[in-house]
């Protein structure tokens, strides 16, 4: 079972090669850092002061995550997850996959692990991108000092981990839907609606029950000016709870599908 899972994962990992989803991971992770680099090159006259600020790394981290937490990460997860399962529909390969000597749990969880690994890949590349967005202006623009204070690695890694947990419910629900709907637009459409619903519900005191809201909540929680509903609930636990529930429901629905290709 363990070996067949590993082999199945290798096989699934190979399928994403050159796929739109894998390109999205690379392009999406470097999108915000690229914009930051561009903005800093354009407004280079203010950079010397900015780079000398003791809070430089935290400010960079915060501005990098702004668009990521609210827009790019939820939308990216919606699209990438749907695109991975769409590979099977588009190529008419579910029947091929389900006639391989693999147990159904192996098929379900190895594909899920590929999506989770791609998300991890995205986080790693995004972190590299953030660092490059600090380094490149320093290297190309004269007079810009290297930030004095060390990078707060542990704080950033902890936040990375929490953001990662916060987008797991999106990933799980999109995975569930993409296995049920042959039509790519159905799952993506519902995902977009839920994302819009999450934004609308942010100011509501129970807004945290919407499963697509946790990356936004986490980002905005520390911002006193943000209009979000005050909650004492542990949103990360909620995210994990939703993830587990969606995965179990998704697996049962997948297992009981009348047609498997």
């Amino acid at each position: 079972m363990t070996y067949s899972f590993l082999h199945s994962f290798q096989s699934e990992w190979l399928k994403r090669k050159r796929s739109l989803a894998s390109w999205m991971v690379v392009l999406g992770s470097f999108f915000t850092p690229s914009i930051i680099i561009l903005a800093r090159v354009i407004y280079h006259d203010k950079l010397a002061t900015l780079y000398a600020t003791p809070e430089f790394w935290k400010m960079l981290w915060h501005s990098s995550w702004e668009s990521m937490a609210i827009f790019l990460l939820p939308l990216g997860v919606i699209l990438a997850t749907s695109l991975i399962t769409q590979l099977e529909y588009k190529n008419n390969t579910w029947k091929q996959l389900h006639t391989l000597p693999l147990a159904y749990p192996t098929v379900f969880f190895s594909k899920l692990l590929v999506i989770i690994t791609m998300m991890l890949q995205f986080f790693i590349l995004f972190n590299i991108g953030i660092y490059l967005s600090a380094l490149i202006p320093y290297l190309v623009i004269s007079g810009v000092p290297y930030p004095k204070n060390p990078i707060p690695y542990w704080d950033f890694l902890k936040e990375d981990a929490l953001f990662f947990i916060d987008c797991l419910p999106i990933l799980a629900l999109q995975y569930l839907m993409s296995l049920q709907f042959k039509n790519f637009l159905a799952g993506v459409g519902i995902g977009f609606l839920l994302w819009i619903g999450s934004i609308s519900a942010l100011s509501w005191k129970y807004g945290y029950v919407v499963p697509y809201s946790y990356t936004m909540y986490f980002y905005l929680q520390g911002n006193s000016q943000a209009k979000i509903g005050h909650t004492t609930a542990n949103i990360h636990l909620w995210a994990l709870g939703y993830f587990v529930v969606f995965i179990i429901v998704g697996y049962l629905l997948y297992l009981n599908k009348k047609e498997k290709g």
Binding site: S4, H7, S8, Q10, S11, L14, K15, K17, R18, S19, L87, K90, N91, N92, T93, K95, Q96, H98, T99, L100, P101, L102, A103, K257, K258, E259, K260, G261
Partner: protein, 301 residues
């Protein structure tokens, strides 16, 4: 023991639409079983049920003597399949498509080159499978089915999209695999002529019911039994009356009289009687009752 056997396999897509009605498929080990029927007869549904792609509703499926449901993974290790249209990843090359399967089946990597050569696709290099012609895609699908050296091959209309030369090549390849490696092959088609030169056994299905199952020889015997003579005369009913008086069966069809098979002497004798009774005989012919006619006859009745 059969290599593949179904017992009373019944399937409904909805309560009022029966797709398969008590199908008892029996495939002998080492045989090439032609599964024939017109489009929509239930061939693909049967094969999808056998491979577990459709959830079984009623009946039993056993492969290699074991129930499929409880031995799915072990059984699938020994099966190569191609169901309907090609199942390939368009963004990957032919080699990469095979590598995707090789990872799961854990067969030697050298098999990839061998099967690509076998189906004539070793020259495709970095070309994406999505850019292949339908015939090339079909050949790649056959290569994928053969990659792990299966004991049982289940092929649903594998020659779809192939040119006449390609059809011939696939036919020869399957014959060779059957003879040299004793691979049991189940091959479905809606054209008898396409597979009659290949198969050892035949199953004919129509509207979800099995109409015939047996060896090719048994089907050919049916051909001899059902040969008939056609009399084209100016008076069909009088012709039929004379034939019946000779203790032979006669039917009228399109103004002609169809008589059951008889010896040349009897035919001459009846002809003589028709002339003596003032019936003008324009033509006497033997019905060209080849396998295709029997097939058509079976599915039309």
């Amino acid at each position: 023991m059969y290599c593949l056997e179904t017992k009373d396999l019944t399937y409904r897509f909805s309560s009022d639409e029966i797709a398969l009605d008590h199908i008892n498929l029996q495939v002998n080990e080492g045989s090439i079983y032609g599964f024939l029927g017109p489009n929509g007869a239930g061939k693909t549904t049967t094969l999808r049920l056998i491979l577990g792609l459709l959830k079984k509703q009623q009946g039993d499926i056993s492969i290699f003597g074991k129930p499929f449901a409880s031995n799915r993974v072990d059984i699938l290790k020994k099966i190569g399949s191609l169901i309907e249209s090609p199942s390939i990843y368009g963004h990957l090359t032919a080699r990469e498509n095979l590598l995707v399967l090789q990872k799961v089946q854990q067969c030697p990597k050298s098999r990839i080159g061998k099967v690509l050569e076998l189906v004539g696709l070793s020259h495709t290099g970095t070309k994406k499978a999505g850019q292949f012609s339908l015939g090339m895609k079909q050949r790649l699908s056959i290569a994928m089915a053969l990659l792990h050296d299966p004991t049982l091959l289940i092929l649903d209309e594998p020659t779809n999209g192939l040119d006449p030369n390609g059809i011939l090549e696939v036919r020869e390849l399957l014959k060779r695999l059957n003879q040299e490696k004793s691979i049991t092959i189940v091959i479905s088609s809606h054209l008898l002529a396409e597979i009659e030169k290949l198969v050892t056994h035949i199953g004919i299905i129509n509207k979800g019911k099995m109409l015939f199952q047996g060896t090719l020889e048994a089907l050919k015997n049916k051909q001899q039994q059902s040969q008939a003579i056609i009399f084209d005369t100016n008076d069909a009913s009088k012709t039929a009356q004379i034939i019946v008086e000779n203790h032979l069966e006669a039917n009228l069809l399109d103004g002609k009289t169809i008589m059951s098979a008889a010896s040349k002497d009897r035919i001459a004798q009846i002809n003589q009687q028709l002339v003596n009774n003032g019936v003008e005989v324009y033509e006497i012919s033997v019905v060209k009752n080849d396998l295709e006619m029997i097939f058509m006859d079976l599915i039309n009745n």
